[in-house]
């Protein structure tokens, strides 16, 4: 299978530094308390949103099947979506790589001589690092989702896909505003902080010539882009500027309009425990003659960036069912402790561990699938029933396969393979296949247990070294049975 070679995403380096990131963030008490508080809050909210276990299970099964159907028909639905969008006057562009997506968007903006962009929340544009790309070309790119705005002011990237600034508390936000917004008087009152953000951003909405947004569902049947949001910034970005560019992954397409209500219901309830978001925005066209507002031009950029690689494998394909609700990270004991930035990727948590290897390759992400206790919480809460723990195991296997083994399913196959580890497992398999060698090696292990080293690399950095017993279990059982027999004979 041919993989596209492109310039590396900036996230490849930070993902490679996973272990160092974890050590850094685990030691940050404020960060850990911010995450603990936020995750407890979000888990509670979700729990309260599903009053009936029956309804939840029926909906999950239904939505899983909806997404699987849409994936089964994906290329046809993408063509249908394109046809209907173009019929409605929305231009469709395709990009295999993040660079292509950025080039397309930059050109669309340049053509309109755009200088100022307001962005609604879009994780796919984080994936392409669009802000950096545009700013290098002298286009101001302002995030308008409150959380994204905070993160951008702090020169960070989102630590959570739904609540981007979840790693910051209000004191940190207040300081950030005081340092960056002229005339802002330090206050930790959240209402004051939000009103301040509102004021700055409304001015920008009024002046911006381009709005960029993501897409939650793209409906093939009608050529409609659906956006889920609470703040109204998504509506602003898609209504006020003259040019609206939406960017999304190719897996976001659904077949029918009627597929949307169950998915929407599960999305908002799983994400934040809301029965529905404040706004559900359905865009089917640019401004029509006679209409008084709305963008003159609407464009959609469809991005692959590794998704077609996942699509080509029956098991990994399930990754693409994801509707980006964030429930898996909210319930992940690892995410809660290390936080969203430690992963070093755009998408953190369980979903990030599944999608990032396709986007960045296993060379950069080989550690990520191992950052799981396999407790199964993510799989249990996933609204579209992605078997996340199973997929993580599969990714671990892909990561340690011999580099040359065919078929090559993933970019970077075998990146995590170590010859020592491979040898250990080979020996282990050999020992366990033969009862004689097994007995002999157990005998050796118990008799020479004093040779067990005190330091065993990563294992003993946080644990004591294992100490083999003086005799094997088999020997002890045999001895016990012998003793019982003897005493029986004596009594008899």
């Amino acid at each position: 299978m041919k993989h596209i070679i492109e310039e590396e995403s900036k996230y490849a380096a930070s993902a490679k530094a996973f272990r160092a990131n974890v050590a850094r963030d685990l030691g940050n008490e404020e960060l850990r308390s911010n995450f603990r508080g936020a995750m407890d809050y979000l888990m509670d909210k979700r729990k309260g949103a599903f009053s009936s276990e029956d309804e939840l299970e029926v909906l999950r099964e239904q939505c899983k099947l909806i997404k699987q159907r849409c994936l089964a028909k994906l290329p046809h639905l993408l063509e249908q979506l394109e046809g209907n969008l173009e019929k409605n006057g929305i231009k469709v562009h395709w990009a295999e790589t993040i660079t292509q997506a950025n080039e397309i968007i930059a050109q669309l903006i340049a053509e309109k001589k755009g200088k100022s962009v307001v962005k609604g929340k879009s994780m796919v544009s984080e994936e392409t690092a669009l802000n950096d790309y545009l700013e290098e070309r002298n286009v101001e790119c302002l995030e308008s989702d409150m959380g994204e705005y905070i993160v951008q002011l702090a020169k960070e990237h989102p630590s959570h896909i739904i609540m981007p600034a979840i790693h910051q508390n209000k004191k940190q936000v207040a300081k950030l505003f005081a340092d960056n917004i002229e005339g802002f008087e330090y206050s930790t009152d959240v209402d004051i902080l939000i009103q301040q953000g509102r004021e700055v951003l409304r001015n920008k909405f009024c002046q911006a010539d381009v709005g960029i947004s993501g897409v939650n569902f793209a409906v093939a049947e009608t050529g409609t882009l659906c956006l889920v949001e609470n703040e109204g910034n998504g509506r602003m970005c898609t209504t006020i500027p003259d040019l609206h560019i939406a960017i999304t992954g190719i897996e976001k397409v659904v077949e029918h309009l009627s597929d949307v209500p169950p998915l929407l219901s599960l999305l908002t309830r799983s994400a934040t425990g809301q029965a529905i978001s404040t706004y559900f925005n359905m865009i089917s066209s640019a401004r029509k003659p006679g209409e008084k507002d709305g963008p003159q031009e609407v464009h959609l950029v469809l991005l692959d960036n590794g998704r077609s690689q996942a699509f080509a494998d029956e098991e990994l394909k399930q990754t693409l069912q994801c509707i980006r609700c964030g429930a898996c990270m909210n319930h992940c004991p690892v995410y809660t402790r290390i936080g969203g930035h430690a992963y070093g990727t755009v998408y953190p948590g369980p979903i990030g561990k599944m999608v990032s290897p396709h986007m960045l390759g296993l060379e950069a992400t080989t550690n990520l699938p191992t950052a799981s206790t396999l407790c199964g919480a993510c799989g249990e809460v996933c609204p579209v029933k992605i078997p996340i723990p199973k997929i993580l195991l599969r990714l671990r296997q892909e990561s340690v396969k011999p580099k040359s083994q065919q078929p090559q399913v993933m970019k970077g196959q075998g990146a995590g393979r170590s010859s020592v580890e491979a040898l250990i497992w080979k020996v282990w398999a050999l020992v366990h296949k033969s009862p004689k060698i097994y007995a002999l090696s157990m005998w050796g292990l118990t008799r020479f247990r004093f040779l067990m080293p005190k330091k065993l690399g990563g294992w003993t950095s946080v644990r004591t070294a294992p100490k083999p017993a003086a005799t094997t279990l088999h020997e002890r059982i045999n001895a016990k049975q012998k003793k019982a027999k003897q005493s029986q004979q004596e009594r008899g």
Binding site: G37, I104, R202, N230, L257, A275, T278, Y279
Partner: protein
């Protein structure tokens, strides 16, 4: 250096070909007749009163203000609300469905019709329009959602930019849930430029999970419920 329009078209065309070819290779020979049946949850049926109660309760939970009124009384209600909010000006869409309300309001508040293009009037829309009045197409009980169906007379920004949004909701147009509404009205055949479901005033919990209202859209959503 930025690419030209032709460069971008070429990039997009090649990408399109490659992506679709890869995907199609994987689905060739798929039998779409054999897909498993998708069984929806069977929601109980509610009476009109129950649906109304649910609609109001969901909206109020989300900090919307719901006022039961009549067409005849509406001008009075709106002007009182505006007075309480210290607002003297109201932006409205030239929609026939509530023309008599506008006529009755004429003597009470400073009215402004949304009869202009947004293009040269953004500053005025953002800075000089503190409140707006719009109609709605229908509403959804299960989630307390109001369906806005913007058109030439009631532009999209009418219900988005002004900080206070009055919306007229007809109780006779209340539907149980989103799925049944879409199906009964056959939305797939006739979606306009934009449809928005609104379920409260704009809000955010992005700072330390603390809910704050008035993020970017209206700070207040005042629902004028008629024909109860």
């Amino acid at each position: 250096m930025t690419n030209t329009k032709a460069d971008i078209k070429a990039i997009s065309n090649t990408a399109r070909g490659n992506i679709l070819a890869k995907l199609k290779a994987e689905v060739s020979g798929a039998d779409y007749e054999k897909l498993p049946e998708e069984v929806p949850f069977n929601y109980p049926t509610f009476s009109r009163e129950e649906n109304l109660a649910q609609f109001i309760s969901e909206l109020e939970k989300n900090h919307a203000q719901v006022i039961k009124t009549t067409k005849a009384n509406m001008a009075e209600v709106i002007s009182e609300q505006l007075k309480a909010l210290n607002i003297t000006k109201l932006l409205y869409g030239e929609n026939d469905s509530h023309r008599e309300v506008i006529t009755a309001l004429d003597s009470k508040v400073d009215l402004q019709a949304y009869d202009f293009s947004i293009d040269n009037n953004k500053g005025m829309l953002f800075n000089e329009c503190p409140a707006a009045l719009s109609s709605s197409r229908c509403s959804i009980a299960a989630t307390g959602s109001i369906v806005l169906w913007p058109d030439e007379n009631e532009p999209r920004s009418l219900t988005l930019v002004p900080p206070v949004h009055f919306v007229i909701v007809d109780a006779n147009e209340l539907h149980a849930d989103f799925a049944s509404l879409m199906t009964s009205q056959q939305w797939q055949d006739k979606l306009p430029t934009n449809v928005v479901l609104v379920s409260g005033p704009s809000k955010t919990a992005d700072i330390q999970q603390t809910l704050a209202y008035g993020a970017h859209g209206p700070k207040a959503l005042i629902v004028l419920l008629i024909n109860i």
